[in-house]
Symmetry: C2
Subunit: 234 residues, 2 copies
DNA sequence: CGGCTGTCAAGAGCAGTGCTCTCGTCTGGT
DNA sequence: ACCAGACGAGAGCACTGCTCTTGACAGCCG
């Protein structure tokens, strides 16, 4: 019953290792040609095994894809958290910029994996429960940032527009579940900031700014500084 | 050499009709199961022909998909333009809301077609030139709206942040090519508004607001009114 | 230590895909 | 009336995800 990192039996060790190898090869193929081109048979071929053997480790192609999705969520969240942690906690704008730049950087380095988690959901595929907690890491990171901002006395600059009742109700429930100390307005602003962040990266990555903007990085920075201002970070 | 709407020969007429039928069936299959499930063979089967015959009309599956993409761009632009045209031209916020609501409505009715044009680009697929002009229709519509706003003396509410030199250069080139009368700042704001609009619809459609927001329509309206304010529409 | 049980890789096979090539047929313009 | 070109049908190739069966091996219990 020892849950140590070293698996008990040689069989179990081999199984873990092979599972990891399959994921690694799959991730490489995914990175090179995109999710649609990810083929279980091709993975098996590259590993020198037969396709049916892979099914001992992943019951279906979708299952393998889900494992990669979870990994991708973790990887981009690691990048964001890592970058943010290296900034002085009092520097709110710096923390925000660290997060968004890390996300954009990761997305540029792993476009297909980014597309896997923030692009069109794969057809007829419903995200399993395993994905929701990794997916929430960055939003929660942003929320903590805004809580710190609130504690420092900073509030969103957007003039307080009247909020429709159903929106207020949704945000109230969310607030009570996640962060009782922030206001509905702050939550609304952070949610919009999150959408704007992901939308911005996707826009660039999916080519919607082609022939429109050329210095993407400057434009992204400019845009994200604007969002930081909206968030009331500085 | 008569370029009339009625095709010359019976053969040409049959060809046009069949081309249209193929697109219709393909669009239906696309709407039902998404782009990945679009199969030339299935389309052929439904039309009572053999798969190779379809290749007389579309040289490849990608070519058929491109035709559907162009149609989708035109359809959503038609919806947006139609809705906007029914609003009094002096009502700037009304025109903006008409456009964004029409876009969202069309997206909800045709999620897979929306995903085709605003989601992850299909793997290894470079948008052909035929798509760029239909794709630009809505951005240009928004630009005209902002020009009207400028003529009415309305300017973006965002306090004029310093704009990095490369961003200003990009926007200057864009401005001179499209709308010499607007300022770089207005252009920047309309570009961000466009990104926020598409990002917002995609976020909802791709399920990123699951368990977060429940009354999507109210939230969307609330958010888009905020963007209207940023755009300086009212 | 021996046998039983469950895991494993391998192979064959099914149904489906995009796409190509060939082969008759029929049509439209000369 | 003829003939090039368009057309539909069919066979076939290489590929996919996935299932089932078969035989070999490892790990556990008596």
């Amino acid at each position: 019953m020892t849950q140590t990192s070293a698996p008990r039996t040689a069989r179990a060790r081999a199984r873990d290792e092979l599972t990891r190898e399959i994921k690694d090869v799959a991730r490489r193929q995914l990175a090179e040609q995109g999710s649609a081109a990810l083929s279980l048979r091709a993975v098996a071929r590259e590993l020198g095994m037969v396709s049916s053997a892979v099914y001992r480790y992943f019951p279906s192609r979708d299952e393998l894809l889900t494992a990669l999705i979870v990994d991708a969520y973790q990887a981009i969240a690691d990048a964001a958290e890592g970058a943010e942690s290296r900034v002085r906690r009092g520097d709110l704008v710096g923390r925000w910029l660290a997060i968004v730049r890390a996300m954009r950087g990761w997305a540029m380095e792993h476009p297909h994996e980014y597309a896997l988690i923030f692009g069109t959901p794969v057809p007829g595929y419903a995200a399993p429960a395993d994905t929701v907690s990794p997916a929430a890491r960055i939003p929660l990171l942003l929320l903590r940032l805004c809580i710190d901002a609130a504690e420092a006395g900073r509030v969103p600059t957007t003039n307080h527009r009247p909020m429709p009742r159903p929106v207020r109700a949704d945000l109230k429930a969310l607030r009570e579940a996640l962060a009782p100390t922030v206001s509905e307005h702050q939550l609304a602003v952070v949610l919009m900031g999150w959408a704007q962040l992901v939308g911005s990266i996707s826009f660039e990555l999916f080519g919607h700014l082609h022939n429109t903007v050329h210095d993407y990085e400057s434009y992204f920075d400019y845009q994200m500084r604007g969002v930081a201002k909206q968030l009331g970070l500085g």
